[in-house]
């Protein structure tokens, strides 16, 4: 193509092509949720959203995701500390194993949990006589969330531990601090960004988790049905408005988390 002085033809063409491809792939689907949701008027949107089953599904998603996040942060810190500070036989194997679920299909993850904790599962069989049934409860959803999201939190926190200068902790020790004081006053503040990032990633991913949840939860409306399962169920029943109302909430929710991760990046990154 001829290059006209002062005007590069390739530039606008490339931009236009890129946008044209992006539109139907990402932007239009998202926009259509909002367009459809508001087409029947805000009143029907509100009614669909405040239906007891819808509210329950949203609440269950938030609560289970919250506990999965708490676990991921606390245990993520602990695991990162151990795996980054101590060198022991099998350490790399553990690191690989922890990260493995990122590559495992979520349906497989859910199925695996069922095989372990289900009424006839390896461990579930031992618990069943005592009246303990983990599967098809909120606990099962949390377990599935942890299984799927732990690599996310770990993957953010561990590298910060690895690159953190040991001299800070050594300095703290020579000044007279105990290990706990050092961790609390020196190590933890340096991990602030990683913890927030890890928590947000976990939470965002857990709220939207579908594949593993549908297997382990039993998908009982009003009891073990999370928001994504609700969307799927209502859509199958032909109640598109009901599904769409919850979909809008989940979409907005993920926008918020994404914005925090995106715009507070500098704040989160600072050591």
């Amino acid at each position: 193509m001829r290059h006209v002085r002062g005007f590069d033809v390739v530039r606008p063409l490339s931009i236009a092509t890129m946008v044209a491809i992006m539109l139907p792939l990402v932007l239009l689907p998202l926009a259509s949720i909002f367009i459809f949701g508001t087409s029947q008027g805000l009143g029907s949107f509100w009614a669909a959203l405040t239906a007891p089953e819808a509210l329950f599904a949203l609440q269950l998603s938030l609560v289970t995701s919250f506990w999965a996040t708490v676990f991921n942060v606390v245990f993520g810190l602990f695991a990162s500390y151990v795996l980054s500070r101590y060198n022991f036989w099998g350490r790399n194997a553990i690191i690989v194993t922890i990260s493995l679920p990122t590559a495992i299909p979520t349906a497989v993850a859910g199925f695996a949990l069922l095989l372990l904790w289900g009424p006839y599962g390896t461990l579930g069989r031992l618990l069943a006589p005592h009246g303990v049934q983990l599967m098809f409860t909120a606990t099962a959803i949390i377990l599935a969330n942890i299984f799927v999201t732990f690599p996310l939190a770990f993957g953010v926190i561990k590298p910060v531990f690895d690159t953190m200068s040991r001299s800070l902790e050594e300095a703290s020790a020579t000044i007279g601090a105990t290990r706990w004081q050092t961790f609390w006053h020196v190590t933890l503040p340096s991990l602030r960004g990683a913890i927030v990032t890890g928590a947000l990633l976990t939470f965002a991913r857990a709220v939207g988790e579908f594949g593993s949840t549908i297997l382990v939860s039993g998908n009982l409306a009003g009891r073990t049905q999370t928001a994504p399962l609700y969307i799927f169920a209502k859509f199958n029943e032909g109640q598109v408005e009901a599904a769409n109302a919850v979909a809008i909430v989940l979409a907005l929710f993920s926008f918020v988390i994404f914005s925090i991760l995106f715009f507070a990046r500098d704040w989160l990154d600072t050591e």
Binding site: S167, L168, E170, T174, A177, T178
Partner: protein, 429 residues
């Protein structure tokens, strides 16, 4: 005696003879050097993965004294510092602080102040918070913390920066915060790990002076680690020269510079000329030349192989046969090169030292061939002259001169401490 037993018995001795810590420090103040040292290490050895990094290291640091551990990278100096601080464990040996064996104590119970090379300031804490950290974790009363912080901020002249974070400070300021942070809990000894490594040359010189002044003020004993000989000479009351995990020499700057005990020390601290020779009766023979040295040869037997070590600035040149007063004639020579390098003039002089009857199959000791058609014999030496001398007697390349030495050292012909028969202990004390 097994090492374990040795350590144990030493501890027992300490427990019975050493006064309590505070009293020890008090008495040290009065007795200056001697008595109980502020810090001492005894027969430290350490190996990493089969290689010895420290071998039988012994030294003392007196009260209020600053000792510099000088060595190239890999000499083991950082390991010594980390062992004193309790950040690393020696294989054998012990560390004593004010007479108390602290070998078994973890870092946090030793009460030493470490100024890390990177300063290791806590990035999320302000200057004030960094300084009071040691008191905060000791749960001292608020008023005491406040007073200490004020006093230390004034001491290191950072009153105007108290609310800043470390990243907002210059390198020098960060270093002062690091020092103040350790002083807050009255450390028994300050350990500086390459304190000026991360700074540019000019700041380095300025900070060196500042720290020297500060240490004189606070009278806390200090151990510095450096590979910079200039820094060592300026900072140290005494210098310990380390080479490959061994202590080559320990002494005052004057001692290690002017009376090096080993070739390594002589060449590591400044430039040194080195000539191989033989101890004779009241003289050192170097080839056909001989330099009178009655005192220096006294400790050698006649015919023993020795090294003559002398500094470029201790050489005196003369066009006539008469040398400056106090200089001893070494040999004649020819000026081969002249450079003017600012404050002084640097010359290369080729000495006329014809080797004695050359033995078949042996290399020529003093035959040097340079890239000219002439085959030159003789040994080149480095000479420096301050500007006044250079102005008073001007030379040009090719001039014949008489070479004399104001002072020199005669060393047995072993290059390293590790090759000497005996072990080196503190020669400066």
């Amino acid at each position: 005696m097994q090492p374990e037993q040795a350590r144990k018995s030493e501890r027992e001795v300490d427990a019975t003879t050493a006064p309590p810590n505070g009293a020890a420090r008090e008495s040290m103040h009065n007795s200056a050097r001697g008595g109980v040292a502020a810090a001492s290490v005894r027969s430290l050895s350490k190996s990493f993965k089969g290689t010895m990094v420290l071998e039988d290291i012994n030294f003392d640091v007196g009260e209020g004294e600053s000792l510099v551990l000088l060595g190239a990278s890999g000499s083991g100096k950082t390991t010594i510092l980390r062992i004193i601080a309790g950040l690393e464990e020696p294989d054998t040996g012990s560390v004593h602080l004010h007479g108390r064996d602290v070998s078994e104590l973890p870092a946090r119970e030793r009460g030493v102040g470490v100024i890390f090379q990177s300063y290791a300031l806590f990035p999320r804490m302000t200057v004030e918070q960094n300084i009071c950290y040691g008191l905060r974790i000791r749960k001292r009363p608020k008023r005491e913390i406040k007073e200490t912080v004020e006093r230390l901020l004034a001491l290191v002249k950072l009153e105007d920066h108290r609310r800043k974070f470390p990243s907002q400070l210059s390198g020098g300021q960060q270093q002062r915060v690091a020092i103040a942070r350790t002083l807050a809990y009255n450390p028994q000894v300050l350990l500086f790990d390459e304190p000026f490594g991360a700074l540019d040359a000019q700041t380095r010189v300025r900070l060196r002076r500042e720290i020297r002044t500060l240490l004189r003020q606070i009278k806390v004993p200090a151990v510095f680690i450096t590979h910079d000989q200039e820094e060592a000479l300026e900072l140290g009351d005494r210098i310990a020269v380390l080479n490959a995990g061994r202590l080559e020499q320990i002494g005052t700057p004057d001692e290690v510079y002017n009376r090096p005990e080993t070739e390594y020390v002589a060449t590591f601290l400044g430039a040194a000329n080195l000539l191989l020779g033989v101890a004779g009766a009241g003289a050192i023979e170097i080839g056909t030349a001989a330099i009178p040295a009655v005192e220096e040869t006294a400790r050698f037997r006649e015919g023993q192989a020795v090294k003559l070590v002398f500094r470029p600035e201790d050489v005196r040149l003369s066009e006539t046969n008469s040398l400056a007063e106090g200089a001893r004639r070494l040999a004649g020579g020819i000026i081969e090169e002249m450079d003017f390098v600012g404050a002084y003039e640097r010359l290369t002089v080729r000495l006329d030292l014809i080797a004695r009857a050359h033995a078949e199959g042996k290399p020529h000791l003093y035959n040097v061939t340079i890239n000219t058609s002439d085959r030159l014999t003789g040994v080149p030496i480095l000479v420096t002259r301050p500007k006044p001398d250079a102005g008073a007697a001007r030379f040009k390349v090719g001039d014949r001169v008489t070479v004399g030495l104001m002072s020199f050292r005669v060393l047995p012909n072993f290059p390293l401490a590790s090759e000497r028969g005996g072990k080196l202990y503190d020669t400066g004390r």
